[in-house]
């Protein structure tokens, strides 16, 4: 009269295993669910009662107690329907306990006994997989999404009677195998390539450096300079995601309900470009049932914020935690949830509020004060987290003609990505004893340890300090960048050339800060 069934519960991005304990005893017929169920779980008993009856099973008129263990964490979601129903069937002897114990279950029930798909299935499945579960009975509607977990046996069921038929051996199901997933190469070819960008070699190089160690980058340039076009192509030169990374991204998208209907593993690095009117909550995530926002959705990918100074201050504040800790915590009344957020921030802004400052033909109508105001909006800790500051300007028409006429070498995304991948593997190898993986994560003591400068480089840096009146922080940024550039060039030691290039990615910001050059 007692049964244990395995299922899971979503906690933030992760899932915990939950044991559904069912006890059927004498007494006034009733069904009680304990273990901090929320309304959606408590309503399960109505669905289960009807579903079992309508599927032709006996719903025991006994005293039924269901405990969701561990009982001290809150449970929510309709996916508990199926495990609870199976628990009742096992406890009442309709299904043999031994068979059911091999599987984990989740799914929502209809009143007629159909098993409906649930949201966040892949997140749940990955969580269970990480806890060692290998056999899963789940709604048929979720089978494609979950079939990406190649190391799990999944048994999709459409109706509660399928479960009984499978477990009793009357009509056993075959484990479902999804279609083979697309190779990353295919995905890349469908995307946008840097080869389509005419000119802008300097900007491309800067983006490659940024990609090589996930440095955050700020692009300043008038409208039409190609900021968005460049940013969109950035994910294409980032290293291909590992299987585990793909899973993590997929589960976040699953939690946000943003997986395409046909499911499948997300193998392409995310590119999120929220509009500048976005609220802090939409950026971070939230809701009474917390859902990941734009920042966690950009995990392992690119968060592109166009019109950077136009974002409201609170929204920009939200970015600080992910940029520092690579995760984002949102506190709601019901729970505190932490999402991973290893993002590469690509910010873009106009040189001035009207956007025409520095444009060759259009006139800037902003006052100097307005320009200073505009630029100072990104001051402070946020700007310090952005290692690369570059200017981007429209390519003059003559140069487009020229580049079309003559066959200049244009970096295509694949070549760029290959270099980036090599540079990244060098870094991972170098930092295998540290808690970091990339140069962008270097702390001052680690900089000292891993980024020794020769005399020439030191002199150059000193010169930069004098010429551009750099702050100590920008000095560190330059050294980090020089390290990345050296890695990109596959050189073991940082030399003056690398430092000089690194300086060029910081000079604009410090030199021109607030200043209005020739309008």
């Amino acid at each position: 009269m007692y049964s244990r069934i395995l299922t899971g519960s979503i906690m933030g991005i992760d899932a915990e295993t939950v044991t559904v304990e069912t006890d059927i005893s004498s007494g006034l017929p009733s069904m009680t669910i304990v273990g901090l169920p929320d309304t959606s779980v408590r309503e399960a008993k109505e669905r289960i009662r009807s579903a079992l009856r309508n599927a032709g099973y006996q719903f025991p008129s006994k005293r039924i107690t269901v405990n969701l263990s561990p009982a001290d964490s809150k449970k929510e979601g309709t996916h508990f329907d199926l495990p609870i129903a199976v628990g009742v069937m096992v406890a009442s002897g309709e299904i043999s306990a031994g068979e059911a114990a091999q599987y984990a279950f989740f799914g929502e029930l209809s009143l007629d006994g159909k098993v409906n798909a649930v949201q966040g299935a892949i997140a749940l499945a990955i969580g269970l997989r990480n806890k060692g579960v290998r056999k899963l009975i789940l709604p048929a509607g979720n089978r494609h999404e979950v079939s990406i977990l190649t190391d799990m046996e999944i048994y999709p069921v459409a109706h509660i009677s399928d479960v009984e038929a499978h477990l009793s051996g009357m009509n056993p199901l075959m484990p479902f195998r999804g279609r083979p997933r697309k190779s990353s190469r295919e995905v890349c070819e469908s995307g946008e390539d840097f080869v389509d960008v005419a000119g802008q070699e300097g900007v491309k190089r800067a983006l490659q450096v940024a990609a090589a160690a996930a440095h955050n980058i700020l692009m300043v340039g008038p409208p039409g300079a190609g900021k968005t076009m460049m940013a969109r192509r950035l994910p294409g030169i980032l290293p291909t995601m590992t299987y585990e990374e793909c899973l993590e991204v997929t589960r976040i998208y699953s939690l946000a309900g943003q997986l395409p209907a046909e499911g499948g593993l997300i193998t392409q690095r995310p590119f999120r470009a929220p509009h500048h009117t976005i609220s802090p909550t939409a950026l971070a995530g939230g809701g009474s049932k917390p859902r990941p926002g734009e920042v966690p959705l950009a995990h392992f990918g690119v968060l592109f914020l166009d019109e950077f100074p136009e974002f409201c201050r609170k929204a920009l504040e939200v970015l600080r935690q992910p940029l520092e800790d690579e995760k984002i915590t949102i506190a709601r009344a019901s729970a505190t949830v932490t999402y991973p957020a290893k993002i590469m921030l690509v910010a873009a802004m106009n040189p001035c509020p009207c956007g025409n400052l520095g444009h060759s033909t259009r006139k800037c109508t902003c006052s100097e004060y307005q320009v200073i105001q505009y630029r100072s909006k990104i001051s402070g800790p946020l700007a310090d987290r952005i290692d690369i500051h570059i200017e981007i300007f429209p390519v003059p028409y003559e140069e487009l003609i020229d580049s079309a006429g003559r066959n200049i070498k244009k970096g295509n995304s694949e070549q760029m990505r290959n270099a980036v991948e090599i540079a990244r593997s060098v870094q991972i190898d170098r930092y295998r004893r540290e808690r970091i993986s990339y140069n962008s994560q270097l702390t001052p003591p680690l900089i000292k340890k891993y980024c020794p400068l020769d005399r020439e480089s030191e002199q150059l840096l000193k010169m930069a300090f004098e010429t551009y009146s750099l702050t100590a922080r920008s000095g560190l940024k330059i050294i980090k960048l020089a390290r990345t550039i050296a890695d990109l060039e596959q050189e073991e030691n940082i030399s003056a050339v690398h430092v000089a290039e690194a300086i060029s990615y910081n000079r604009f910001y410090t030199a021109n800060r607030g200043g209005k050059a020739n309008g």
């Binding site: 004498s26 007494g27 006034l28 017929p29 009733s30 008129s61 006994k62």
Partner: protein
């Protein structure tokens, strides 16, 4: 007044006869305590059954069983718990049934609804 009481009485008699014909063992009728009243208490096999009987003359006020509201159910349960505790019957299977009786001119109709809680 008298008429309604008589009608209730008639309904209960009808219900008891029906239950006996179904093999129920009648334990108690019109059980009263300070929390309320239970019309019939019976055993069906090993299950203790508490029965509320509702009798109506016509359908102008809806089906008889519709008058068993949640407030009425709460009263029933309270009385039930008192009875169970008083007699030490906690370990038994039990349930609450409603028998509705429609006494029309052309005849008397009976409907047994099991396990209403």
């Amino acid at each position: 007044m008298d008429d309604r009481k008589q009608l209730g009485k008639l309904g209960e008699e009808k219900a008891v006869r029906y239950l006996i014909s179904k093999g129920f063992k009648i334990l108690d009728r019109n059980y009263k305590c300070k929390t309320g009243e239970i019309d019939i208490i019976a055993m069906e096999g090993k299950t203790l059954v508490f029965i509320e009987v509702k009798t109506r003359r016509g359908l102008s006020y809806g089906l008889p069983c519709e008058s068993v509201t949640s407030a009425k159910k709460r009263h029933l349960l309270r009385t039930l718990r008192y009875y169970v505790a008083f007699h030490g019957l906690e370990e038994m299977d039990m349930r609450v049934d409603v028998i509705e009786i429609l006494a029309l001119r052309k005849g008397i109709y009976l409907n047994h609804i099991k396990n209403i809680v």
